[in-house]
């Protein structure tokens, strides 16, 4: 980072390219939300902008946190999140029907969101503590499975399949990078790959439908297919250059459901076309690559694993959402971070980025190596 005389040193040391990139994605998202509301900053764009700015500030603030502090807070954070999850599930801090929210006065917390970075940090910390020689031992595997399995099960029964899948994938990524033996991943993956289609095909139509509904309890069972087909129509009809800003008929005439939340990418692609879509995917790609580089350049095992896991969190967010919106995956309710309306995803992604920035700063300061 080049230090200029005009810019104060602490500011100059921020990863500005990343911040600009993230801000650009968020601004593009605000434009899409503005259009989705029929050309109005209400009810979504303005709120989203405030939420983004707040969390951007928090993320930048987090970049000064030391790796040792993060490590110290890892297990307590995990424990607290787990307690909150149990609280949501068991103790009934339930707000009207939806079990995933913890209502704490002005803030409504969704503990499962915290679990995404928390599981990454926890497993990273765990594998840092495991001696290198022990990595292929059972002792290195079962605690991790437990650390991952308990929150995943709690989130699954909420039920929130989307978040559950995300948490599991983030955790598995860290375990994979930690160097666990291949069969741990290949075995179950192969078993699921072989068994799932067979089991699914053995079922009768209405049973399959039940499975579909189970997989996706939030949406109207009859509407699941409708969501995807309308989303594909929106994306496909956008063509290369799109229908133009504020010109998307699918979203403005309400044919596209959830056009400002989970299906915001379809709203965007209808108006901005393939070009907008590719640019957005590329921008996310750059953000993820930045995170992966932080991991590659890391000097401690914790920061290696944590940085890679946090980048993977962002990656899974984006890729699951896009696969879902483009009809490559079932609708599981994963929003597109920074673009979809809603504070939770912004919070999670900005927390991840804040942690990544903190880890990145450590790489540039020699002191921690001592």
């Amino acid at each position: 980072v080049i230090t200029s005389a005009i810019i104060p040193k602490p500011l100059a040391r921020l990863p500005w390219r990343l911040i600009f990139l993230v801000a650009a994605i968020a601004c593009f998202g605000l434009l899409v939300l503005y259009s989705a509301a029929g050309g109005s900053v209400r009810p979504w764009a303005l709120k989203q902008a405030i939420v983004f700015l707040v969390f951007l500030g928090i993320a930048i603030g987090m970049s000064w946190v030391k790796e040792s502090t993060i490590k110290a807070f890892t297990f307590p954070l995990y424990g607290a999140t787990l307690v909150m999850l149990i609280g949501v599930e068991g103790l009934g801090f339930v707000s009207k029907g939806a079990q995933r929210w913890l209502d704490l006065g002005p803030i409504r917390l969704q503990p499962s969101e915290f679990m995404k970075p928390a599981i990454v940090l926890t497993l990273a910390r765990f594998y840092e503590l495991v001696p290198a020689g022990e990595i292929r031992k059972w002792r290195a595997i079962w605690p991790a499975l437990l650390l991952l399995g308990v929150p995943a099960a709690l989130i699954l029964v909420q039920p929130d399949l989307g978040t559950c899948i995300m948490v599991v994938l983030c955790g598995v990524t860290v375990m994979f990078l930690a160097g666990l033996p291949w069969w741990i991943f290949a075995g179950p993956a192969a078993a699921v790959a072989v068994a799932a289609p067979i089991a699914y095909n053995l079922l009768h139509g209405y049973q399959r439908k039940r499975i579909d509904v189970f997989l996706n309890p939030e949406s109207d069972p009859l509407g699941a297919g409708y969501h995807i087909s309308q989303s594909k129509i929106a994306i496909g009809s956008g063509g290369i250059w799109g229908k133009g800003f504020l010109q998307g008929s699918q979203s403005h005439l309400d044919y596209l459901p959830e056009g400002h939340t989970d299906f915001v990418f379809a709203t965007m692609a209808e108006e901005w076309g393939l070009v907008g879509g590719v640019l957005l995917i590329a921008a996310f790609g750059l953000v993820i690559r930045w995170g992966m580089r932080v991991s590659a350049n890391a000097r401690t095992r914790f920061s290696q694993l944590a940085a890679a896991g946090l980048s993977a969190t962002i990656f899974f967010y984006v890729s699951i959402n896009l696969m879902m919106v483009m009809g490559l995956a079932p609708v599981v309710g994963v929003p597109l971070p920074l673009v979809s309306f809603g504070g939770s995803a912004v919070m999670t992604v900005m927390l991840c980025l804040g942690l990544l920035m903190a880890l990145e700063r450590q790489q540039r300061t020699v002191s921690t190596l001592a």
């Binding site: 309308q230 496909g236 063509g239 290369i240 699918q250 309400d254 879509g277 790609g285 490559l328």
Partner: protein, 630 residues
Amino acid sequence: MNGPTRLTVAHQSITFSRRMMLLGGAQAAVGALLVGRLGWLAIAQNQKYQLLSESNRVQLIPVPPRRGWIIDRTGKPIAINRSSFRVDIIPQQLEAGRDVVPDLAKFLALTDDDVDRIRRDLKDSRGFQPVSVAENVTYDQYAAVTVRLPDLPGVQATRGFSRYYPDGPAVAHLLGYVGAANAKEYEAENKNPLLIIPGFKIGKQGLEKSLEHYLRGTPGGQRIEVTARGKLVKELDPKPDRSGQTVQLTIDQGLQQYAARRMGDQSGALVAMDVASGDMLAFVSMPAFDPNSFSEGIGRTEWKMLSEDDHIPLLNKVAQGLYPSGSTIKPAMALGFLKQGLDPNRKYHCSGGVQIGNRYFRDDAAHGTVDMRSAIEHSCNAYFWSMGLQTNPEKTTEMVNYLGYGQQFDLPIPSQRFGTMPSPDWLEKKYHREWQGYDTANTSIGQGYVLINPMQLAVMPARIASGKLIQPRLLMAAPRKPIPDLSVDPEHLKIIREGMTAVVNGSGTAVASKLPLDGIQMAGKTGTAQVFRLVERGHQGAWALRDHALFIAFAPADKPRYAIGCIIEHGGFGASAAAPIVRDCMTYLFDKEKALATLAPLEQQWGGTLAERNARQLAAFKSASPATIA
């Protein structure tokens, strides 16, 4: 101690780097997959999805075309469109918590059934598609709704068009009527959205049905942009509708109406033709329903009255009524005899009957000595029985069929029954028995298996009169093909025409029906078709037991221009019931004033014009059956 640990740490580092590369690669692959999928949807599938998106966005509300007119040969309208008032509800404009149906029921005097139907339709409707509340409402009701429109959100009172037949029952069986499409018709047209627009009518019977293709026109479209919930966003450029074509018939509206009126309250059919072209000038089946009430949706009481009437006003007797021809067959039989070489001047002594096999066929009278002309003139059965036995029945019946009896004509009439002209060949095929003497005897006087329809009753005299193989026509625009001459000796035709002229103008069976015109004579032939066996025959008995009266004619006798065939069901003698009607209709063709002057006293005697009598009949029926008044 340190060695293996270090190795393992180094090893771990290598593993990490390798797996990082793998992870990065997988992420890049997923990214490529996403971009590829995006490209596939947006480029390769773009057209398909653009179409789907457009069909989401734009809805077409068909604007029904105005139905084409039907006009007569002189251009007088016989089926037109009259402006009418209707009330609909646009579901999406209804306000929550404001139920307009009870108010409408009050203003429009709707029945509970109507209200139920409206509520059902509203429940099944899509937002922008109107639901019909009532059609053909009176101006007062229309006005009552219109002034309250601000207080009736979602209600629409509009002026539309409904079919109107100025001549009412006179054209009922010729034109048929129109009505809303039923489920079957809707399916048959692949769910054409036009058919379910409230107030849109299609041809249900007669020419309205067979000419539907010309009359319907092309619907326009109100193209609108709607949201997924059916809310109208904006109106796009509309597509104009094109009215149906006007169809000109060969019918003479004046004659059609005159014939219908002249038939009075009798049940029967009359067909008039131009002998040179085959143009049908009148196509009348009476009594008839009022197509106007059918097109508006007929009331239960009126329907009941029509279906209970023993004069069967719902039957198109011209196209579907089949009757024995009676003696109207004789001119054609005689022509058949001539063709086989029978001498027209050969004398025959009629003693009042003929013995055939073991049965004695009795004639109405002993006509004394007759030849062919006077046998036609006096309708001597014995002559035809006797000559029939001396000639080849196959050839004779062939001639009768050639002149039209038992023939089907290519006319735009949805269902035509064309009867039977028996022959030895036909008998063999149908009943597997040989032609007997009594078959000849029955056929010679148009009884037995002979069944004809009223169109054939006009075609036969027209062919005899013109000497041409004319075909009946109903559409002015249909191509006129050259008409071949009959393959008959013109001298023979002359003899037949002389016989038929004598029927009316000599001392024949219809001398009472001479045309009241100077220098124009009518030629004809009476017919009386037995409905029951001879022994039970009684001209004064119960109406349904009486014989059918028939008359065929052409005029002027010397230079034929028009031919008419007429059947009056249970009219008794052809001479007394059918011939006077034909005479007056023929008179109308030459002198309208004179014909109308004849009609006036008759109608007075019957108790008013056709319309007046129909209205009175309905009123009487209504008061007689209070149970049907809901």
